[in-house]
């Protein structure tokens, strides 16, 4: 178990203790909610793990780096940015996927573009966003998010 995992689990346990002292009914409600979300996310977790395993097992690193590595340039970053915007997986699960391609030849810029568009932009939820907030705000938010995601990605590529 690494340090991050210990810290996260520590925070969860501390939070639970405080919650139980403050209001045990609400604490139990939180636990139930956590259990439900966990079960809900579980199939997706396995699908992502399988995707990673197949990706690393069957696609050689030089192929990954050809598409989204240092030398793929602007095109590769834009493509992976679009993939991130279209994908509809929980943000939490985008990080293991991102780390697997980073370790196997993808550039920092590409990985940053992927996680940033994936979290910020929701093409699947766009109709709902338009319905609740209007076309103007929803389209502007998603459109500009894509541009800033690409900018953030390039700055990260330069610094790291």
């Amino acid at each position: 178990m690494n340090a991050t995992a210990i810290i996260i689990n520590g925070i969860a346990i501390a939070g639970l203790l405080i919650a139980f002292i403050k209001d045990w009914k609400k604490a139990i409600q939180s636990l139930k909610m956590a259990g439900k979300s966990f079960i809900k996310i579980l199939p997706m977790v396995f699908i992502i793990i399988i995707t990673i395993a197949l990706l690393l097992g069957f696609v050689p690193p030089d192929q990954i780096s050809r598409f989204v590595g240092e030398q793929s340039g602007m095109g590769g970053v834009l493509i992976i940015g679009i993939v991130g915007a279209l994908m509809h997986i929980p943000a939490l699960l985008s990080f293991p996927l991102a780390s697997s391609i980073l370790e196997n030849g993808a550039s920092i810029t590409a990985v940053a573009a992927f996680v940033t568009t994936l979290t910020m932009i929701g093409m699947i939820t766009l109709p709902l966003e338009i319905k609740e907030l209007g076309k103007k705000i929803a389209l502007l938010r998603n459109g500009i998010s894509f541009i800033i995601a690409i900018i953030i990605a390039f700055i990260m590529g330069i610094i790291l």
């Binding site: 178990m1 690494n2 991050t4 996260i8 689990n9 925070i11 969860a12 939070g15 919650a19 403050k22 209001d23 609400k26 939180s30 636990l31 139930k32 909610m33 956590a34 259990g35 979300s37 966990f38 809900k40 996310i41 199939p43 977790v45 396995f46 699908i47 793990i49 399988i50 395993a53 690393l56 097992g57 929980p90 939490l92 990080f95 293991p96 991102a98 780390s99 697997s100 980073l102 990985v111 940053a112 996680v115 940033t116 979290t119 910020m120 929701g122 939820t125 709902l128 966003e129 609740e132 907030l133 103007k136 705000i137 502007l140 938010r141 500009i144 998010s145 800033i148 953030i152 990260m156």
Partner: protein, 189 residues
């Protein structure tokens, strides 16, 4: 959306996810029987990533559950509706980062805020913070991509999200003014 309707929709989604998982497993089994030499590598990666995820996911879910139950939507709306300026933006970011569920929960809240007259910049910052700088999300990013990556992306995201919020507010204000002028012309002409 009615609660009952939402539940059946979630159930459908669950069934769909398990169905996809089933297809994925069948696909892997077939693939590995065709390429048996890859079996070891695939099982090893699966094991490694499974362990890395399973040691943090329950804790992340508990943290999210605690926040969702102890901080109500009303509290969020109350704190966001009345502040503006730098303080407004800071509060929008802070509340957005609280681990309280997926983005589509935030849309109706943002809609309520617009009706209550909150500034567009605050709402954009709030939505974007909600989407991409949630605390548990940062923890998982830290775990898989490292401290440098996570902190740099966090800082850059905050800066650019604020710029985006202010720009969208300006664009919308500008287009509304133009519409008003055009509307007047329409009446006169």
């Amino acid at each position: 959306m009615k609660p009952g309707e939402k539940q059946t929709k979630q159930k459908k989604k669950m069934i769909r996810d398990w169905f996809f998982l089933g297809i994925a497993i069948v696909f892997v089994v077939i693939l590995l029987s065709v390429f048996p030499t890859k079996t070891e590598a695939v099982t090893l990666t699966t094991q490694e990533y499974f362990i890395e995820m399973i040691i943090i996911l329950p804790a992340v879910m508990i943290i999210m559950g605690l926040f969702a139950v102890f901080i109500s939507n009303e509290t969020v709306v109350k704190h966001l509706g009345k502040t503006s300026g730098i303080k407004g933006i800071a509060i929008s970011i802070l509340i957005g980062t609280l681990p309280t569920g997926p983005l589509y929960i935030a849309f109706p809240m943002a809609a309520t805020l617009i009706k209550k007259g909150a500034r567009v910049s605050n709402i954009i910052v709030f939505l974007s913070a909600w989407a991409c700088i949630k605390i548990p999300q940062e923890m998982v990013e830290f775990q898989f991509l490292g401290a440098e990556f996570m902190f740099l992306r966090l800082i850059l995201t905050i800066i650019f999200v604020i710029i985006m919020g202010i720009s969208i507010e300006k664009i919308i204000g500008w287009s509304e003014r133009r519409n008003k002028i055009e509307g007047k012309r329409g009446i006169e002409g």
